[in-house]
């Protein structure tokens, strides 16, 4: 099988995020970057698929030239065979999806492309769907179990209220991966060393025949959530305080 996987470099999940002075971006100083958590599931599923069905894995990233480091340790060292890094900075998710679709098309011959269900920085939930639409392929979101047979796939996806839906379809397809699909493996020392020699192509939009086009959406402003108000101390002895607490829970918090 020829397997593609889309991976975005985002701030680490535990990075301390501060809104920049322009109110539309975040402060990047001192922030560490890694592959977005859901994209790690996508990479793991790509590797498992190759282990089971054979083939080749190519990863695609739209991002800064410095993404090279994270791609080597987080994709190539784990089992991705080659990486394509499109060093562009489109203004919106559609622009990113157009470049990814162009790169996938330029490479050609894929049976399946994995993405995370969303990325942990912007949480737009759009890339997988847009890439599939642009390629004219089938697409399943929030996948927690997956099987291939011949040119057919069967994917289980999470819906609201704990309901699971099983979707069958024909390849090629874009599969967006959800937490629970797999457990991400650790890299091994020899693989990290070998990853340094694996091909990683940094290309511009022109080289893949892509064009992000004008952004159709933009960020208005970013704001941190309001600070949590200070706790309230209830004075008095235990009996009085307990009564007051019950009253507050019932009348103010309305949880009783």
């Amino acid at each position: 099988m020829k397997i593609g996987v889309c991976a975005k470099i985002t701030p680490d999940a535990d990075a301390r995020i501060k809104v920049a002075a322009d109110g539309q971006s975040i402060v990047l100083d001192g922030v560490k970057f890694g592959i977005s958590d859901y994209d790690e599931y996508a990479i793991e599923e790509a590797i498992r698929t190759k282990e089971k069905h054979g083939g080749e894995i190519v990863s695609f990233t739209v991002g800064d030239a410095s993404a090279d480091k994270q791609l080597r340790s987080g994709a190539l060292a784990l089992g991705v065979d080659r990486s394509v890094l499109v060093t562009e900075n489109p203004g919106d998710p559609l622009g990113i999806a157009k470049l990814l679709a162009a790169a996938i098309q330029k490479e050609g011959g894929f049976d399946v492309v994995f993405t995370g269900k969303s990325t942990i920085d912007q949480q737009n939930f759009q890339i997988g769907t847009m890439v599939a639409e642009l390629l004219g392929w089938a697409h399943v979101t929030q996948v927690t179990a997956l099987e291939f047979e011949g040119n057919q796939f069967k994917a289980t996806r999470n819906m609201d209220a704990g309901i699971r839906q099983v979707v069958a379809g024909t390849l090629p397809a874009v599969i967006s991966c959800e937490d629970g699909l797999n457990t991400v493996r650790y890299a091994k020392l020899p693989d990290i060393m070998k990853a340094k020699k694996k091909p990683l192509d940094s290309v511009g939009a022109g080289a893949i025949g892509g064009d992000a086009g004008a952004a159709r959406s933009s960020v208005g402003n970013l704001a941190p959530p309001p600070a949590r108000p200070a706790g309230r101390m209830i004075e008095g002895d235990a009996a009085t305080a307990a009564k007051e607490l019950v009253r507050l829970l019932r009348d103010e918090a309305k949880v009783l």
Binding site: D12, D14, G30, K32, T183, Y186, K188, P190, I192, K196
Partner: protein, 466 residues
């Protein structure tokens, strides 16, 4: 100030990680040093024992009160200053929170006891805490710049690195073992040192200024597997020599943590990724001081030379990955705790350290454990934790007797009966075995001089008078 006496409130403060239950008549939660001083004066006047309680992560019952009052530092939790070379906070700030705030400015305070998220800055100093990174950075002591301390008479004193000890203080004169140790009062000429590692018995720490260093930009994390224990020890030897020769060299781990085959069984159950041939593993971290490839090549060479299962070495090159590797390491205590709960019996955990030359001897002694056990810990400092997991009262008694034998053997080998957990109320006998009656008497004189009514941390380190 009046103490809180509600039994329901007190109930939350009567035990620590030792699971030994204590009793208390009242609880204070002061917010300022002056309030602490006022409480101490009142305790001293009325001769009421006063036990400091903070995160209650101690494994030695040091935070467990045996009557009297409790003083919780939970509201003394302000971070007051973070500069380039030092940072200052009140004693009750959580160590992990303090470190997060420091690291957000690009600076670094290295001491990392496993409990750092749940323990406080003050308590980590009062116990001279250490952790995995102590292999490179040492324990807490060298990182303390100055302290504010409330003495047993209510006097507030400030000690920095240059503050001498008043000439009438009877500082014990004895030779500490030349190993990692957190046992007994230190022989010192600096007042600052007197209050580091005294376990709340000589004064109450209310504020501390600590020294900072550069935050390492990148850290590599490794889990290395070995087909034999000898191979693991060979690698420890080699990595340790290299680290000592050049602390910033290509092979210069900042921590070397051992996991025995029983630990690996627990890890196999919980996280996988453990090769079948592995009987021992090392969890290691390497700060990137040169370029990454140079470090990786040096590690690879050393691992192959020592007969490690080098191909199976797990590695992470970023913070997020390192957190995942920590999950691997933390599967061990989680697995042990599950066993303890299942057994319905407390575990017996050792904290012995020995000189380099005695490491394999003490490890062979651990092999003779009479009941189910796991062995893990800070092998870079020859400081392993043997956890014995009894299932019956008889096994518990045998485990305790075995621990006593091991403590005596560690002392005979020139080691310490407590490398990092301190003495608390559970290891006073072992301390006596280590230092002898004469030195215990010296400890007693210092304690009596600074706290004539024996109100502070009563029962910790040395037995209180009847």
């Amino acid at each position: 100030m009046r103490p809180i006496t509600e039994p329901d409130v007190l109930a939350g403060y009567l035990t620590d990680a030792s699971n030994i239950a204590g009793r208390a008549d009242g609880l204070f939660r002061p917010t300022t040093t002056e309030e602490v001083a006022e409480i101490v004066r009142e305790a001293n006047r009325t001769k009421t024992p006063l036990t400091v309680t903070a995160g209650r992560t101690s494994t030695t019952a040091a935070a467990v009160p045996m009557g009297g009052w409790l003083l919780s530092t939970e509201r003394l939790n302000a971070i007051e200053q973070i500069g380039h070379s030092t940072a200052t906070a009140q004693a009750g700030v959580f160590l992990g929170d303090f470190q997060d705030a420091i690291e957000a400015t690009g600076r670094f305070y290295p001491p990392d006891p496993t409990s750092r998220r749940d323990c406080t800055l003050g308590a980590s100093i009062a116990t001279n805490a250490s952790g995995a990174r102590s292999f490179k950075y040492g324990p807490t002591r060298p990182w303390v710049e100055s302290l504010e301390v409330v003495l047993a008479n209510g006097e507030i004193v400030h000690a920095d690195r240059n503050t001498p000890i008043p000439c009438h203080w009877p500082i014990p004169q004895w030779a500490e073992p030349e190993v990692k140790t957190a046992a007994g009062y230190v022989p010192t000429k600096r007042m600052l040192d007197v209050f580091i590692g005294q376990e709340g018995t000589l004064g109450i720490l209310t504020r501390a200024t600590v020294r900072l260093t550069d935050l390492p930009a990148e850290v590599l994390g490794f889990v290395v597997f070995f087909p034999t224990r000898q191979a693991a020890l060979a690698f420890v030897d080699r990595a340790r020599s290299a680290q000592r020769a050049d602390p910033e060299g290509a092979l210069s781990p900042r921590c070397l943590e051992y996991l025995d085959r029983h630990c690996l069984d627990l890890a196999r159950e919980r996280v996988g990724d453990v090769p079948d041939a592995a009987v021992a593993a090392l969890f290691c971290e390497q700060e990137v001081s040169l370029d990454e490839e140079t470090h990786l090549a040096a590690w690879w060479e050393a691992l192959e030379a020592c007969g490690a299962l080098a191909d199976d070495t797990l590695i992470t090159t970023d913070d997020a990955g390192r957190e995942n590797l920590h999950a691997f390491r933390h599967a061990i205590p989680a697995g042990i705790n599950e066993q303890v709960v299942r057994n319905g019996m407390p575990k017996v955990g050792t904290d012995l350290s020995v000189p380099d030359a005695a490491l394999s001897t003490i490890m062979e002694a651990y092999d003779h454990a009479p009941i189910r056990h796991v062995l893990f810990g800070h092998i870079g400092d020859n400081h392993l934790h043997l956890n014995l997991l009894p299932t019956t009262p008889d096994e518990l008694a045998r485990a305790k007797a075995f621990y006593d034998e091991l403590a005596a053997q560690a002392v005979a080998l020139g080691g310490s009966i407590s490398a990092e957990h301190g003495i608390g109320k559970t290891k006073r006998d072992h301390l006596r075995t280590m230092v002898g009656d004469g030195v215990i008497e010296q400890f007693r004189r210092l304690k009596s001089h600074l706290d004539p009514n024996w109100i502070l941390g009563r029962g910790n380190v040395i037995e209180p008078p009847l």
